[in-house]
Amino acid sequence: MTQGELSAVIDLNEDGEALMPLTAYRPIGTLPFAGRYRLIDFPLSAVTHAGVHSVGLFMPQSARSVQDHIRDGASWNLDLIQGGVFMFPYIATRDYSDPALRQRYYDDYTTFLRRSGSTYTVIIGSSNIASVDLTAVLAYHEAGDAPITLVYKKLPSEDFTPDDWTLTLSEQGTASAILRQKDRHERPSETLPAFMDTYLLATNDLIDLLDVAAGAKTFVTLPELLRDYVLANNANAFEYTGYLARISSMQRFFAASLGMLDDANYQSLMFSAVPVLTKSKNEVPTFFARGAEVSDALLGTGAYVEGEIKHSVISRSVVVHQGAVVENSVIMQGAKISTGSTVRNVILDKGVVIGPNLKLEGKPEAPLVIGKNRSILKMKDLTPQPAG
């Protein structure tokens, strides 16, 4: 594909309420995953793989973790002479009754799109973990009749919650609407098309859409505009068949994280045609001491393991001391589990310290989550602290 033919818009303003406290200081897009990645690595890797030169990142309220992760975009080969990563700040109040802020909302998008010089634009969220080959989506779009293409994956109906976005597909395979599962009115079926929050359309069409919206009386966000556009015009529906995890709740995040220990998931996400790129750090190798017992686990570098780890995902620079046991858990960067302590069915955010001889246990379907940088030195420290 011609370099720069496709540009990308990634909006990091996604509702992270169901992932508190992990989303207290970060958007869903910078949630750590598989011991090594942030969720935004997946859409960024997909756009890089498709030769995208201009990526517009629409920043969330807490943008620090995004800035720190992306830097100049070099890790995704986006530190380019032409194009690159363009970050658009969060519009402070999100009070779009103010006409100036409304104008800026649309202007940020249209300015980016006009300057990108692209023919097509892909709009992609960061809460779906997948490895979509966007060149195939573009080819499908060019061959299709509709002015916009949506990406979906068929999933068993029981895997949906009422708020999940789905597609209404016609017999011919085109999509006529993007609906939440609870708004569907049809006979139950075995599978449903899960909408992957990925749209592709001509850049000029998108600019027109935004320009018209900017002149309207009521404020409509970009996702709403696009859903209305699909209702009015129908959409080509591209079926994706690779790995997909929808990170919309703590339970799904926990299940997807530990699901990476399933060899089939690991292979299909890590070794698909789309290499997963991320910011690398100069971390030392992970050290396994005498007596360490580690099996059924994913680990980042720089970890130090004396104790026991089973069925868990361990990020870089985690320390597991002698006699400590980590089971069915997700441990993020720099967390420390002191000697003699057991953590089971837990998620420890970055920098959490668990003191010696404690036993922390959640439920497999409802993990115990300890927020960033908290120290649990005795059991009563577990009582939730006010954020701060």
């Binding site: 997963v276 190798p285 050290f287 580690v294 099996s295 059924d296 570098t301």
Partner: protein, 380 residues
């Protein structure tokens, strides 16, 4: 352009004593310690010491070294007006300029050095594992008003005859130099790390090459000439971990020492980090059948077997039922099922088939070369 001290890394040697490991690559680009290559230690020392202008002199099989160093960004050495330059032999109107020895290699790159007009020239090897602050050595050099300072470290008397030995007076001035002496008079071994006053060295080299051209090697020619002409030449004592990894045996030993939690190299010390070119690889995967102890692993590895007291580089696969023990495995090597690797070095991209055996002894390390495939029993 002007720079106070310019670093020159001599990375052109063939490394014949590393046998088949250096058949297709230069010694400084041989992997070490799981996620490093040998030259990372020298490059990181330079970066951490604040020496940001560095020439890397290459000659033998430089492809992998070029690819590894790139623009020096991995070490923070991509500095405008400074940074890393790879220096390769070249042809000119005076003929070809292949390097005949360490000092000759510096002489051939005078134009590069002059372009920075440095006060001091720091000459380094690219094949030693150590952490050292060259800025402190420079301070000692200035304090002594030396023309040449040679970094030395005490070695056991029994080993002294394998090194260049410096005899010093009580002011650390070098009064005698013996190259691999049968009967060493001291135990201060040269580490092959030199700080020269560049104008003086430049004069020695240009005068020599204008006449007899005998200044080929620092140890054999330049240091003796400095001593003969009474140039102030001082020893700078280094205390800490230092290992020349020029042989299969020493490369293996250094990797095993690297595994010790009490190794004085202290790789995990964040105030003197060792940087390397890093690749975005998946996290390491240890399956339900994996057993790993006293070992180091890094990104991209897939372990279904047993790993004990070993250093594995990135993207190594160890199949179910296999045992890797007291060994070093280089990047992208694949070990099949039910194989045994014991006291061995497995080269990059090598394949050990199912049921394969690569078994060495503590004093006779078995080696599988780069890209080599072995299936049946291989004894050292």
């Amino acid at each position: 352009m002007r720079t106070e001290m310019l670093g020159m890394i001599l990375a052109g040697g063939q490394g014949t004593r590393l046998g088949k490991l250096t058949r297709t690559t230069a010694k400084p680009s041989v992997p070490f310690g799981g996620r490093y290559r040998i030259i990372d230690f020298t490059l990181s020392n330079l970066a951490n010491s604040g020496v940001d202008t560095v020439g890397v002199i290459t000659q033998y099989q430089p492809l992998e070294l070029n690819r590894h160093i790139q623009n020096g960004a991995a070490w923070g050495l991509n500095v405008a007006g400074a940074g890393v330059t790879i220096l390769q032999p070249y042809a000119s109107s005076e003929g070809e300029k292949f390097f005949e020895g360490t000092a000759h290699a510096i002489y051939q790159n005078i134009a590069y050095i002059d372009s920075y007009n440095p006060d001091y020239l720091l000459v380094l090897s690219g094949d030693h594992i150590y952490k050292m602050d060259y800025e402190r050595m420079l301070r000692a050099h200035k304090l002594k008003k030396a023309a040449l300072t040679v970094a030395v470290m005490p070695v056991p008397k029994a080993d002294a005859s394998r090194f260049g030995i410096m005899n010093t007076d009580d002011t650390d001035r070098i009064i005698e130099f013996q190259e691999k002496p049968k009967e060493p008079k001291s135990n201060l071994a040269s580490m092959g790390i030199y700080i020269f006053d560049w104008p003086i060295l430049r004069r020695y080299l240009t005068e020599s090459y204008a006449t007899d051209g005998k200044m080929e090697d620092f140890g054999n020619d330049v240091i003796p000439a400095y001593l003969a002409h009474n140039e102030p030449t001082y020893a700078y004592s280094f205390h800490g971990y230092w290992k020349d990894v020029g042989t299969i045996q020493s490369l293996w030993e250094a990797n095993m020492e690297f595994l010790s939690p009490t190794n004085s190299l202290n790789i995990a010390n964040r105030s003197w980090r060792i940087f390397s070119q890093t690749e975005a690889l998946p996290p390491m995967f240890l399956t339900k059948t994996a057993k790993v102890s006293r070992s180091m692993l890094t990104d991209g590895s897939y372990i279904a077997g047993t790993v004990d007291h070993s250093v594995l580089s990135q993207s190594v696969r160890v199949g179910e039922g296999s045992v890797v023990k007291d060994s070093m495995v280089m990047p992208n090597a694949t070990i099949g099922k039910n194989a045994t690797i014991d006291h061995a070095i497995i080269g990059e991209n090598a394949i050990v088939g199912d049921n394969g055996e690569v078994i060495g002894k503590p004093d006779e390390i078995a080696v599988v070369g780069y890209g080599e495939a072995v299936g049946r029993k291989e004894k050292a």
